[in-house]
Assembly symmetry: C2
Homo-oligomer: 218 residues x 2
């Protein structure tokens, strides 16, 4: 299949492509979570939910592989670098008790993926301690075992966890596509700049397309 | 020691801090290399050389650890993902013969660090196949063996290899500082945006300071 994309058309096959949904968690999309504790307006991110749902539904109908990531730490915080916990003196630190349970801790209500995009049985779920989805996770092994060579990214936030994961994936040789209307940042100017950085220099990190163009590839 | 920085002062100790110089190679800074083959004006990057030299000289006099990275591939290209070699149809592909030898291949004249910043005996040299300095390299092991917890970054290009390496380092728990006048991009707007992304949200990736402020910390 081939779709219109920046900086040039993106080619992929269903069997070797995974849809990767980054950190669409209550901790980043609802009040009282980690995103808000860093001083952000979390409402800004919710507008991409319908487009993400539509892509996820279509991809499931086609039988494509789905990966969901969550930024999360173990209850004892043994996988949370002290530097990460202290940085910037947030109102609530990782591991503190907030209105949705302990901030950014696996298994707490706030750490779950939002119900609109909840993982289905058989889909891969990755708990990641960093911004990147490959660091200190089994993602690379799981993708290699399935012969995946292409990754299509959605999720939040564009310039932090999405960009970091795409750069890790690009270094590992995956052909990466970002769905522009299925990603958002707390800072719209950072989203715009990151999108441009990704497809600059002949696609130095990867490709960017609209969900409409991606959905037309059947 | 403590220096003025964005978003708040940066604290570090000489014994646990490494100066990391990213990809100041002829392939990116001189005509005929990989940077130019991607359509870039390589002259833009050369203006940071004097500031980088001053910081490197001062750091050496203090006895600090220095790390130099080079983006490079093995002569047989076995560590170059096909996707990386084909992407964007550059005028010269990785491994092709250019005016400074084979493009982005270890040991070729164009792959060397520029003479102004040439590594000294005892300094760590990292050949990296990706944009990030940690992926598929021994960097993490080498830093851990020396008890390094803080990394000060210089080099090129800001939004590609410097940013990718800082994000990898941040996920691994290092406190990272970028010296703003010792890094440059082929796209000045990408440098400006990347600098802002690094220190946003309370320093979500790390800190940014001037080389003058860094040099004052004695």
């Amino acid at each position: 299949m081939q779709i219109a994309a920046q900086p040039f058309p993106y080619e992929f096959e269903l069997a070797t492509t995974a849809l990767v949904i980054i950190d669409m968690q209550r901790d980043f999309l609802e009040p009282g979570g980690f995103g808000e504790s860093l001083g952000n307006d979390v409402g800004l991110l919710r507008k991409i939910i319908p487009a993400c749902r539509e892509v996820l539904q279509s991809w499931r109908e086609r039988g494509g592989l789905v990966v969901h990531t969550r930024e999360s730490h173990r209850a004892d915080l043994s996988d949370c670098p002290p530097a990460k916990r202290e940085r910037g003196s947030p109102r609530l630190r990782i591991g503190d008790v907030g209105p949705m349970g302990r901030i950014l801790v696996a298994g707490e209500p706030g750490n779950a993926i939002i119900p609109e995009l909840a993982p289905a049985p058989g889909e891969i779920e990755i708990d990641k301690p960093g911004k990147g989805a490959f660091h200190a996770t089994p993602l690379q092994d799981l993708l290699q075992a399935r012969g995946i060579t292409h990754l299509v990214f959605m999720g939040v936030t564009t310039e932090v966890c999405v960009q970091t994961s795409m750069r890790e994936a690009n270094d590992r040789g995956y052909d990466c596509l970002l769905l522009e209307d299925c990603t958002e940042s707390y800072f719209p100017r950072f989203k715009a700049s990151t999108v441009e950085m990704i497809h600059a220099q002949g696609g130095i990190v990867g490709w960017v397309a609209s969900s409409a163009d991606f959905l037309r590839a059947r």
